[in-house]
């Protein structure tokens, strides 16, 4: 009976271990804002609302030990900009910015807004800024507001695409 009990306990422990490892792979919980998966990737439906217009698209993020890479493009795949957040320096770099956004004053505002967002995410506390605020909902939606320029950035998580790897040949 004790032998049976022992093997039963081992079996339960093993099951618990597997379950816990599995759930740890679903998301990196150390981030307050972005929902990175086990591969360090996060995908959002994205929009920037200004006083006059709204730009929509997709925001893809990839997390590494040193940096966060971001790519923003519209629904048709046309690139708006690429971004790198240097984690140690807490600095944002923008690259490959599309023509109509490629003005120094637009780049500066976007860089500062993204910096605020990533610092808040990595420090896991609200970084104080009189002009900016972040709201996040239980469903993973993140809303960043730039009160000075009346900008609203909205990030809505996209569902993971499990079938893509099988469907699309590299």
């Amino acid at each position: 009976m004790p032998i049976l009990m022992k093997s039963y306990l081992i079996w339960i422990s093993y099951l618990l271990f597997i379950t816990m490892s599995g759930s740890a792979q679903v998301a990196d919980s150390s981030h307050k804002i972005f929902l990175f998966n086990s591969e360090g990737s996060a995908r959002y439906s994205f929009s920037i609302q200004t006083k006059k217009a709204e730009l929509t698209g997709i925001y893809i993020l990839r997390l590494t030990d040193e940096q966060v890479y971001g790519g923003v493009f519209n629904e048709f795949g046309i690139k708006a900009f690429d971004m790198i957040f240097l984690r140690k320096k807490a600095k944002v770099k923008l690259m490959n910015v599309i023509g109509f956004l490629n003005k120094w004053y637009i780049r500066n505002v976007v860089k500062k807004d993204m910096r605020f967002l990533f610092i808040t995410d990595f420090q896991n506390k609200m970084y104080k800024d009189p002009y900016r605020s972040i709201e996040y909902n239980a469903d993973g939606t993140v809303i960043l507001k730039n009160l000075k320029y009346g900008l609203i950035y909205t990030f809505i998580p996209l569902k993971e695409q499990q079938d893509d790897k099988h469907e699309i040949a590299e």
Binding site: R43, I60, R62, G71, E75, F76, I78, K79, F100, I168
Partner: protein
């Protein structure tokens, strides 16, 4: 002695395997590559594509769009459907992983995203003018005739005809370095579009279950 022979055999076998693998690799690479065609052939191919294009009144299909991001070493796959009706109506709908409907109806662009609807005058936005032009002319193959817009170079690959379009105009150049259109050589209709960006990114749109001149519900070109 036996040991030596066995080693030699193994060595020869290894070299033979490497040789066979390399040969197969080169054969595969060569057969996949684009083969340029002569100017006369190019003219004949474009004429045939345009002849078929002139008979097309409607196109409907599903599509898979793959956006490859070079810096992130990642890709985004979207699925949707496309409906086109001559002369200038297009319904381009993403169904997964996001919902987004883009309609061109004459001079208007209608957009539906997340319950929000928008109507934009095409002339008011350069960006939409370019997107509209690319989408309408790429799905029909009309771009091949736009000598003021693109330098065109045709190739063959397996059973496909491939057209490389190098943009001439500044606006288009700022978005794409090359637009590559694949045509099914049997039907002379577009099967795939690849858009290459200067930064190394690429967007592929593969058209599937293409139906030509099937009946289309006009309501698809409105958001009501």
């Amino acid at each position: 002695m036996l040991n030596k022979i066995s080693k030699l055999k193994n060595h020869t076998m290894k070299r033979f395997t490497v040789f066979i693998s390399l040969t197969l690799f080169f054969i595969a690479s060569f057969s996949q590559s684009l083969k340029p065609v002569s100017p006369t052939q190019q003219k004949a191919m474009i004429t045939q594509i345009m002849n078929v294009e002139s008979t097309i009144k409607t196109i409907q299909c599903n599509f898979i769009q793959i956006k490859r991001l070079s810096m992130l070493n990642d890709k985004m796959v979207s699925h949707g459907r496309m409906i086109y009706q001559k002369p200038s109506s297009l319904h381009w709908e993403y169904q997964s992983p996001y919902s987004y409907i883009f309609i061109i109806n004459g001079a208007k662009v209608l957009i539906k995203q997340g319950g929000k609807k928008n109507s934009i005058d095409i002339k008011s936005s350069r960006m939409f003018q370019e997107i509209t032009r690319i989408m309408m002319n790429s799905v029909t193959g009309k771009d091949l005739m736009s000598s003021s817009e693109f330098n065109v170079k045709m190739y063959t690959q397996y059973n496909d005809w491939v057209a490389d379009l190098i943009p001439k105009r500044h606006q288009m150049k700022s978005m794409f370095s090359t637009i590559r259109i694949y045509f099914d050589s049997n039907k002379s209709i577009v099967s795939k579009i690849e858009m290459f960006e200067k930064g190394g990114d690429k967007t592929e749109i593969e058209l599937r279950n293409v139906q030509i001149n099937a009946h289309i519900n006009e309501k698809l070109f409105n958001l009501d």
